[in-house]
Amino acid sequence: MRFLRRALRLLSLVVLAVLGTSLLMYVAPGYFSDAREMDAAHAGVARADLVSLQAQQSTLPRLLRSEIHGWLRGDLGTSRQYGTPVSSLIAERSALSAKLLLSGVALGWLAALLLTLPLGMQRSSVPEVFLVCGTALLLAVPAGLLATLCMVTGHGGPVLVLALLVGVRDIKLLQRMARTAWAAPYILHARAQGISTWRILGIHVLASLRHDLLALAVMSFTLALSALVPVEVIFDHPGLGQLAWSAAMNRDLPVLTVVTAIMAMCVGLASLSAETRRAGAASCA
């Protein structure tokens, strides 16, 4: 029953995301326009294409019907900008994006955990001040500049930039969580009793932070999903993020709805997994 409820929740999230995306793009300016309209040489063809598009999608229900038709056909519709089935575009790009996303998030998390969790036990605030300075610098440098620097120097790539984007934000939040956790009376008591620092970290600190870490994991995952767009665009990484951006800029609704559905699925699954673990932990307690 619980499984069914969760599956329904996930499904409704995907459906609402697709509906919301369709509605937003349909009513936003420029849906029934084409860059070729301004080109004297190709304006005629562009207008003919638009007339046929308007005939098919004159109202929102008709637009949704044509979208659903594409999904039912099995190829997820035809891309407006590429003129090819969306399923083939997604298949070509999803593996590249998944690899980038997982590598970036893993590296970002690893760096954030290694840098922040042991820091709370330090009596001196000097390392923390250094960390603060480093994160402030990275937060001020936009992703675009970071990526260009990587390209100019020839070191690092989309994985590093994604890891930095995710890691620096996680560090900021983890740093505060860790400080609070290390200052808890029972941990101070344990330290006073001479229990090894690593033991306290592994058993008590991580345990006390597990709910927050789950929520942070969901947040950083969704952050990484949204950071995928600028990172892939800047690095010309042919993944889903780049596809989503070009779909948004070219009002390619069939592609954008599928990308949004995938994003909704990922976010929904991440949230469900966090909530399941949380519920499990609560029931154990």
Binding site: G20, P29, A136, A143, L145, L173
Partner: protein
């Protein structure tokens, strides 16, 4: 430490204000014979590619950008706090609905909503009003980003022993909320600090949709976004001045809040 950092921020803003008031050239005045001029007496930070005094423009950008981003970030943090705190004390369905909406929000392409806002506004909207509206929108759009994290913390606290004890002893909801706030402060401050640079970057990117601080007003976000190509073009080192100032402000903010937490 805290006072020193607050003093540094005040000094930076003071210098910016002083430069704005005393500079012979306005922020929009173009001296077309002094394009990309180096440092000189009349232009202590040189001029930009349109011959405008870089120091004056940076001063105004700092006041507008940091002011706007701090307000947007504060709005987002405050609203997140309010929503997550109330939800953590309310029935579980409220929390579930809120988190569901937050997930939905994170997946939707809000860029189209911003386009709709732009199309609903008159093209003659003055640059300053457009900028203020942009920061307001950014403040509201920032709420769901951190909602799950805040909610997790607030729920854990709401279910803690001391809070149950407080409830049992008859403390009202308002009193319990008040006692919750100090525990959420570190997370709130982190969100505030994270969202300030994010707002600046978003404001610059929204320029592409006709929102944000448009010309001739200077925008700190645009200054920094333009550095992307500067790395290749290698113009004057002065183009890196805005990012240096921003790092300084963020550091000072961070360290002053760090002092407050300590």
């Amino acid at each position: 430490m805290r006072l020193t950092m607050l003093g540094l921020i005040a000094l930076l803003l003071g210098v910016a204000g002083w430069r704005l008031c005393t500079a012979p050239q306005g922020y929009a005045t173009q001296d077309r014979m002094q394009i990309s001029a180096p440092v000189q007496a009349a232009h202590p930070a040189g001029t930009d590619e349109l011959g405008r005094d870089r120091a004056v423009r940076l001063s105004l950008a700092l006041l507008l950008g940091v002011g706007g981003a701090c307000c947007a970030s504060a709005l987002a943090s405050f609203c997140t706090l309010l929503v997550s705190s109330f939800a953590s004390f309310g029935p579980p369905w409220i929390s579930r609905t809120l988190l569901y909406l937050s997930d939905l929000f994170m997946t939707l392409p809000w860029i189209f909503l911003l386009m709709l806002v732009r199309s609903a506004l008159p093209l003659s909207l003055p640059p300053l009003q457009s900028g203020l509206l942009t920061f307001l929108l950014l403040g509201l759009l920032g709420i769901p980003v951190f909602l799950r994290l805040h909610h997790s913390r607030a729920s854990a606290l709401a279910a803690s022993g001391w809070m149950l004890h407080a409830h049992a002893t008859g403390l009202t909801l308002a009193q319990r909320l008040r006692s919750l706030l100090p525990h959420l402060r570190p997370l709130l401050l982190a969100q505030f600090l994270l969202y300030v640079p994010a707002c600046l970057a978003a404001e610059a990117n929204l320029g592409a949709l006709g929102l944000g601080l448009s010309e001739p007003l200077p925008s700190l976000g645009t200054f920094i976004a333009n550095l992307q190509s500067a790395a290749l073009q290698a113009p004057s080192a002065l183009v890196y001045l805005p990012i240096a100032v921003l790092v300084l402000v963020l550091l000072a903010l961070e360290l002053s809040l760090f002092g407050a937490e300590s």
